[in-house]
Symmetry: C3
């Protein structure tokens, strides 16, 4: 979509030089935006990202206009995040593709009855896709993968080789992203990224893995996830990680390799949890963890400290 068209649709006051009227292909963060993408600055803590952005244009408040680099156009507005939300709808993928290739199915792959296969679907060899599953447009599935009954995989998501996806699990539903405007209405930020499940991953029953707002939510090789686990948009879950039942990981959090999280624990958004970290059951993790270790409780403590603290607390009863 032409930049001029976006500017016009959003009623942004900017007279675009014709040579700058490039084709915009999507939205992205300041840090990751390419030269044909638009970004935004709402929160001043991302000012340093602004200075280095490659974005073609940036939704921005007038106040920050001097911080925008020469290669980017300032799209001045009162509510940059709301404008991002409005513009996200211009790039949303079609709900149901009307054109595209027939599914490309490998040898010895069994598709049971009542499976929906969208356009441009590619499935490898020796897979089993069981009844009631929905494989959206553009989904790519590797070889030797089992999709149990009533699984839903949304458009453009990828599942690797040797994966097992249990029933009721949803891969690629929209991340929970809204921009609240001045009158308190929540404007949807279309989640135009996807989910990538690498190889040798097992997902339990009734899990939800949300698609990224931009780019990809990623579950890396060898990771095993129990039932009713929620992975929000833009998370990266490292290799050989174990997440027990009913764990929730909020948006944009990265887990390293070989992380273990006990049942019913939660991790806040935008955190980095280092490799080899162990989080015990029913913990609430709200800060980055840099050097592994065992963590417990909410508020969180190192496990041995948490045990001591609980002993001290129980003495209050005496």
């Amino acid at each position: 979509m032409k930049l001029s068209h976006i500017i016009e649709k959003l009623n942004i006051n900017y007279s675009l030089n014709q040579k700058d009227d490039i084709d915009i292909v999507g939205l992205n963060t300041l840090e990751k935006a390419k030269i044909n993408e638009i970004s935004f600055l709402e929160n001043s803590k991302y000012l340093s990202d602004l200075k280095n952005t490659k974005a073609a244009a940036v939704f921005i408040k007038k106040y920050f206009i001097n911080d925008i680099p020469l290669n980017s156009i300032a799209l001045i507005c009162d509510e940059p995040y709301v404008n991002l939300a409005h513009s996200s709808s211009f790039f949303k993928y079609p709900l149901i593709k009307t054109s595209g290739s027939k599914p490309n199915i490998g040898s010895n792959t069994q598709i049971m009855s009542n499976v929906h296969l969208g356009k441009d679907v590619i499935i490898g060899n020796n897979c089993t896709i069981m009844s009631g599953s929905f494989i959206g447009d553009g989904v790519v599935i590797g070889s030797n993968t089992i999709i149990y009954a009533n699984v839903t995989i949304y458009t453009n998501c990828k599942v690797g080789d040797n994966c097992i996806i249990h029933s009721g699990t949803v891969i690629g539903s929209d991340g929970f992203g809204f921009a609240t405007n001045k009158i308190g209405k929540h404007i949807k930020i279309y989640q135009n990224g996807n989910v990538i499940i690498q190889n040798d991953v097992e997902l339990g029953a009734n899990c939800t893995i949300d698609r990224a707002v931009f780019n990809s939510t990623i579950i890396k090789t060898g990771t095993k996830i129990d039932n009713l686990v929620h992975i929000a948009h833009n998370c990266q879950i490292g290799e050989y990680t174990l997440l027990a039942g009913q764990v929730g990981i909020a948006g944009s959090t990265n887990l390293g390799k070989r992380v273990i999280i006990g049942g019913q624990s939660g991790v806040s958004g935008h955190l980095n949890i280092s490799s080899n970290t162990i989080i015990t059951s029913r913990a609430g993790i709200t800060k980055n963890i840099k050097n592994g270790g065992i963590w417990s409780g909410f508020p969180m403590f190192e496990h041995t400290k948490w045990l001591k603290l609980q002993a001290k607390i129980s003495k209050l009863l005496k």
Copy 2:
């Protein structure tokens, strides 16, 4: 069903005057019962509701017989709640309607393959209903609404305009209501109400919104709900509210407008949470909140107090 028939089936000892033998159309609370409904009094804290009830008849212990108004018949029994449960089965909706109209589908609405549309279903214009979804008898869906794959909407529920319902979500499953009898058996209270989802609502993946026991569970306009959220029977969720992943709201709780609840928090049943309240993640709310504010923890505290308290607690380690 004739009142005499109910009295007979439940072995209630009451000789009904023929002119009082009206058609009973359902059950309800003392407060909301209409003149052709039956109610019950189990707990003396509802005595004031008894005095003002319009119910045709009330299951009631002998002890409270003098408090029943003249317009109501006292159906004296040892276990009023158990009798309510037994009588609820007389009013249950049919699992699968055998008669009724064919679905009435608006223009430009797309129904994919393998969608079940029950009798008397009405769907507006420009909707998309994706494969594997189940639209029960009597369900009404507005215009411009998207129902993703493998959604289940039970009988008689309503979904408004411009809604998005993600995969695996269940709307209208039975509320968790049982009356435990003297020998410890849990008698099902049939949930004969429904769910109403108003306009501009988005429900994440694998949520469960239970139908009301009487009347409606309501999700009001503009509210957005993340994945794996549980809304129990008879809740009312106010306008422009945001509920993050894995939140649970117990039965008959009302949230006001623009409430925000962080991930993995829970709210007990029969509470009123005022508009503009913010509840942080992993909180357990057990009391009414009257004037908004930010609340945290379990037990719950105002957020600033909770932070102070946690600081004090952590000092116990020293």
Copy 3:
């Protein structure tokens, strides 16, 4: 599968006497193994079970070789649990049976469209199986049972009479069982047991009941379970128990009769919770409960103590 074949496939160094080369039919714990099953000893706390095991053979570290009874063959290896995992794949049930009987459906049972019925399925009288449900091979369902839309029941599970299974619930998905090898890779332990749901059980929407690794996960008669509840592999949930929304029970835990657990609580694995125990909402139970009572909090306390403790804690604010 011949024992010699297993020994060879796993590269175990053992020269089997031909008369000992029996047919092995499966794997089991030391305690429950039959004379044609294999077991394992990884953790020395099960040494007493080793001494009494009937297992034909046991994966075991060299160190424990003198403790194995005469009737069992010691399959010496460095990683007994990993060998158990590898051997579990030899006994996995087929994903989709290619031979077997057509479904045997009782009188007055209604199967809606788009229901998958596997081989050797048996369903009693007066049942309703709604659209989108998946009834795996060898599943047995009693009479008067309702399976709502989009339920998934995996191979060989059993559901009794007068049960109600709400939409989106998954019965018999794989328990979360992996053996982590020396290089940190998680080897799947195939879950070759099943789930047994006895009579008069109601399961809410989007629950997950995992199949046992060996033997059965059991939900006993008259128990009612709310939405989004997770029951891990090998649990036994006693009669007339009530589990509220979003509860999680970790693996191999037994609940007695008439247990009540409030919303969002969790119970750790390998525990015994006695009959008539009440666990309030948002509790985390980590120890056996022997004599009922009411329990709260995390760490857990008797409810009255927990209330006192919270009162003491809140005084820290002053």
